[in-house]
């Protein structure tokens, strides 16, 4: 049961971040960090459809993460749900068209290896 909730958390969290990144990358780069600049970003987040769907997916991920926390300790729950880094990197390359160099893949491979050590 614990791993089922981990799976739900990973899939919804992956969709949430990919859609959120897609939506935010369509906006101009944030350079104003004053109150008005922050308000403009919040307004964009609250009105952009892709970002909102991403937040919805992340909300599902959040609730399923709470379910994981109710079944397992934090030091297991957080790293176990980190397998989404691999999925997100693949989608960043294929869907967001980012250039994922061997350097980045090496970093992701280290993260994945760390996850295997934590899970077993």
């Amino acid at each position: 049961m614990t791993w089922l909730w981990v799976l739900v958390s990973v899939v919804s969290g992956t969709l949430g971040d990919v859609l959120g990144a897609k939506g935010m990358s369509e906006r101009g780069e944030m350079v104003d960090f004053g109150p008005l600049g922050v308000a403009r970003v919040l307004r964009y987040i609250a009105t952009h459809r892709l970002v909102l769907v991403g937040i919805g997916c992340n909300a599902i991920s959040f609730v399923s993460f709470l379910a994981v926390l109710s079944l397992a300790p934090l030091s297991f729950a957080v790293p176990a749900t980190a397998m989404n880094y691999i999925l997100k990197t693949l989608l960043a390359k294929w869907y967001l068209c980012e250039q994922v160099s061997w350097h980045r893949w090496a970093g992701v491979a280290l993260v994945a290896a760390g996850l295997v050590m934590i899970a077993f």
Binding site: D17, V18, G20, A21, M24, S25, E26, R27, G28, E29, M30, D32, G37, R40, V41, L42, I45, I55, N58, F62, L66, A67, L69, S70, L71, P73, L74, S75, F76, A77, V78, P79, A82, Y85, K88, T89, L91, A92, K93, L96, C97, E98, Q99, V100, S101, H103, R104, A106, G107, V108, A109, L110, V111, A113, G114, L115, V116, M117, I118, F120
Partner: protein, 141 residues
């Protein structure tokens, strides 16, 4: 259109620290809050929801995780997803330390080793360009 950025500036560092701290402390507060919650499977949904809303640990953890989400979404306006996520993964080290020393959880040598590998991975990715694709460069509005 902007050209790919090669160096992470002060703005990146500030946001990376903000994302890591809000996420790790938010998760930690949630974990403390969950210890004061009724059994997830033995309680009705309504009663569980009320217990969640009335739990200050859960509320403050949720507030920090909201800050984390907004910070991360803001960083996506200038940085790649495949850069932001692995770089901020170094927060797992902070989480393991908090889990061990603040919550008293048992963290085995294997888990410490895994956490160190995750941190090394994030350090490798942090050496790559922040942004690898040209994107729309509009005004900040």
């Amino acid at each position: 259109m902007t050209r790919p950025k090669r160096h992470a500036g002060l703005r990146n560092r500030i946001f990376i620290v903000l994302i890591i701290l809000s996420n790790t402390f938010g998760n930690c507060l949630l974990a403390i809050g969950m210890q004061h919650m009724p059994d997830f499977w033995g309680t009705s949904f309504g009663a569980y929801l009320l217990a969640l809303i009335g739990n200050p640990w859960i509320l403050s953890g949720t507030a920090l995780l909201t800050l984390w989400m907004v910070s991360q979404l803001s960083m996506f306006t200038w940085a790649d997803l495949s850069y932001v996520l692995p770089v901020t993964a170094s927060g797992y080290l902070v989480t393991a330390i908090l889990g061990r020393w603040l919550l008293g959880e048992q963290v085995t040598a294997m888990r410490w080793g895994g956490t160190v590998l995750i941190t090394l991975g994030s350090m490798v990715v942090s050496q790559t360009p922040v942004q690898t694709k040209a994107r729309f460069h509009g005004r900040d509005e």
